[in-house]
C-alpha cells in the first residue's frame, strides 16, 4: 500500500491549504461512505486524506437572513433529519438524502459528499437541483458560488478547481404554498441505486402552479435540470395535458446508458412516469403547507 497521510484540520483555511498543497493527490473526506469503499477496492489511492468534519462551516445548519437555509456540505443525513424545521420546508431534499444507503450510512453520508462523488445516480442531487440550491465553494483563490446543477462534470468528475472545497449549500426562502419531492425507481424497496431519480419543487397558488423546477438523475452523464418540463408545469393547474407535456420533456432530456439496472428505452419512459408521480406528491405537500 502506498503511504497515506491523514489530517483533520479545524479551520476551513487550514483544510484548503492542506488540500491545495497536495495538488491532486488528496481526497476530501466527509462521511467517507464512498471514499473508504473506493480506497478498499483500489479505485482511488489518495496520498492525503483531508477529513473536514472538524471544520465548523461544513457542519453547520443555519437559517439565512433572507429566510432560507445554509447547510454545511458535510452534515450527515441523519443529523439533518433531526433538525426541527428543515424537513418541513424541504421534505424532498431530505427524502432524497435519506434514501442513500442504510441507517448506518445515513449517519455519515452527506449531501456535499454525494454531490462531489459525481455519480449520475446520486439520490440527493436531483432534489438539490430542483430546490435551486447554490453550492458555496472556497479555494486558494477565494470563494465562489455555483448552482448545484453546474457542479457535476460527468461520472466521478466535478467542476471544482484544484484545491477548491465545497463548503455549504444555500437554499432560497420559500414562498407560501411551496414544497418539493424526490422519487426514484429501483427494483427493490431499500438499499439500491436509482435507475431513474426525479426531483420536483413547486409553488402553488390555489390550484395553479406558479413556479417549478424539475431535475432528473441516472438518465445522463450528469444530473439534469429539465427546464422544458418546468415550463410545461408553470401556469397550469397540473392537469393531464400539462403533465403529459412535462413528462415528454423529461423523456426528451434523457441521454442514458444501457446497463444491468435498466435499458435506455426503460429509463427514458420511466423518467416521464416519475415526473408525474413526483409532481403529484410535491403539489399535495405544497397545497397542505
Amino acid at each position: 500500500m502506498t503511504e497515506i497521510q491523514y489530517v483533520a484540520p479545524s479551520t476551513l483555511d487550514e483544510a484548503i491549504s492542506a488540500y491545495a498543497a497536495a495538488s491532486g493527490a488528496a481526497r476530501i473526506m466527509a462521511g467517507g461512505t464512498d471514499l473508504l469503499v473506493q480506497m478498499r477496492s483500489g479505485m482511488v489511492k489518495p496520498g492525503l486524506i483531508v477529513d473536514i468534519k472538524k471544520v465548523a462551516e461544513l457542519n453547520a445548519i443555519e437559517q439565512t437572513p433572507e429566510g432560507g437555509f445554509r447547510i454545511g456540505a458535510a452534515v450527515p443525513g441523519a443529523v439533518l433529519e433531526e433538525h426541527p424545521t428543515f424537513g418541513k420546508v424541504w421534505p424532498g431534499v431530505l427524502e432524497g438524502l435519506n434514501l442513500i444507503g442504510s441507517t448506518q450510512v445515513q449517519g455519515r453520508a452527506s449531501a456535499g459528499g454525494n454531490l462531489c462523488n459525481g455519480s449520475p445516480a446520486a439520490d440527493s442531487v436531483p432534489a438539490l437541483v430542483a430546490a435551486g440550491a447554490i453550492a458555496n465553494i472556497k479555494g486558494p483563490n477565494g470563494t465562489r458560488e455555483l448552482p448545484v446543477e453546474k457542479v457535476p462534470a460527468g461520472p466521478g468528475k466535478t467542476n471544482l478547481a484544484p484545491g477548491e472545497i465545497l463548503v455549504s449549500f444555500t437554499f432560497p426562502a420559500r414562498p407560501k404554498g411551496s414544497s418539493d419531492a424526490y422519487l426514484r425507481m429501483i427494483p427493490r424497496t431499500e438499499m439500491d441505486i436509482a435507475v431513474v431519480g426525479c426531483g420536483v419543487s413547486l409553488t402553488m397558488e390555489g390550484d395553479t402552479c406558479t413556479a417549478a423546477r424539475v431535475s432528473l438523475g441516472a438518465v445522463a452523464p450528469t444530473v439534469l435540470l429539465v427546464e422544458d418540463a418546468a415550463k410545461a408545469l408553470i401556469g397550469s393547474k397540473l392537469d393531464d395535458a400539462a403533465l403529459e407535456k412535462a413528462a415528454a420533456a423529461c423523456s426528451a432530456a434523457c441521454n442514458p446508458i444501457n446497463d444491468k439496472r435498466g435499458t435506455i428505452a426503460y429509463r427514458t419512459k420511466v423518467a416521464g412516469v416519475l415526473l408525474k408521480r413526483t409532481t403529484a406528491i410535491a403539489a399535495d405537500r405544497a397545497k397542505g403547507g
Partner: protein, 160 residues
C-alpha cells in the same frame, strides 16, 4: 511510516491506540484492541455486521477511519451487557432464537439498541427499515424483527 496516536473512549473506558492512517475503526477494534465482537462481513458498508455507535450515532466501523475516533465516544457490542447481565435485547434474542450462525448478531443488536434509544415504540415497518442495512442470511429476519418488537414492549413495560 509514522503511526497516528489516537485518544478516544470505547465503551466508557478512556482508550489510546496507534494506527496507520488507512486503518478503519473495525481494523483497530478487532486487530489492535482485541474487541472481536464487531464482524467484517463485506467491508463496504452493505452488511452492517461491523455496526458500532460513534457519539451514540449508528455507523459502520468499516466505513470509518480509526483516526476519526480521536476525541469521540465509541460503543461496541462488548459494552452492551452489564457485566454478566445481558441487555434485554440480547436476552430476548436468545429466548426467541433470533439468530442462527450469529455472525450478523452483534451488528443487529447494536443497531436495534440504537433504534430503541431513539424510538422506544417502533412499528414493525420502522424496525424493518431501520435494520435494512443489517444483512442476515439465516433467519429470514422474522425472528429478529419479532424479538426487537418484543424487547421494546418489555422495556416500555419496565419503564412504567
Amino acid at each position: 511510516m509514522a503511526k497516528l496516536h489516537v485518544t478516544t473512549t470505547i465503551n466508557g473506558e478512556p482508550t489510546e491506540f496507534l494506527c496507520e492512517p488507512h486503518h478503519t475503526m473495525l481494523d483497530v477494534l478487532r486487530d489492535t484492541l482485541d474487541l472481536t465482537g464487531s464482524k467484517e462481513g463485506c467491508g463496504s458498508g452493505d452488511c452492517g455486521a461491523c455496526s458500532i455507535t460513534l457519539d451514540d450515532r449508528l455507523v459502520c466501523s468499516c466505513l470509518m477511519l480509526a483516526a476519526e475516533a480521536e476525541g469521540h465516544e465509541i460503543k461496541t457490542i462488548e459494552g452492551m451487557a452489564d457485566g454478566d447481565k445481558l441487555h434485554p435485547l440480547q436476552q430476548k434474542f436468545l429466548e426467541m432464537a433470533a439468530l442462527q450462525c450469529g455472525i450478523c448478531t452483534p451488528g443487529v443488536l447494536v443497531a436495534a439498541d440504537a433504534l430503541l434509544k431513539k424510538n422506544p415504540n417502533p412499528s414493525e415497518t420502522e424496525v424493518r427499515y431501520w435494520l435494512a442495512g443489517n444483512l442476515c442470511r439465516c433467519t429470514g429476519y422474522d425472528k429478529i424483527v419479532r424479538a426487537v418488537l418484543e424487547t421494546a414492549a418489555e422495556m416500555r413495560g419496565a419503564a412504567e
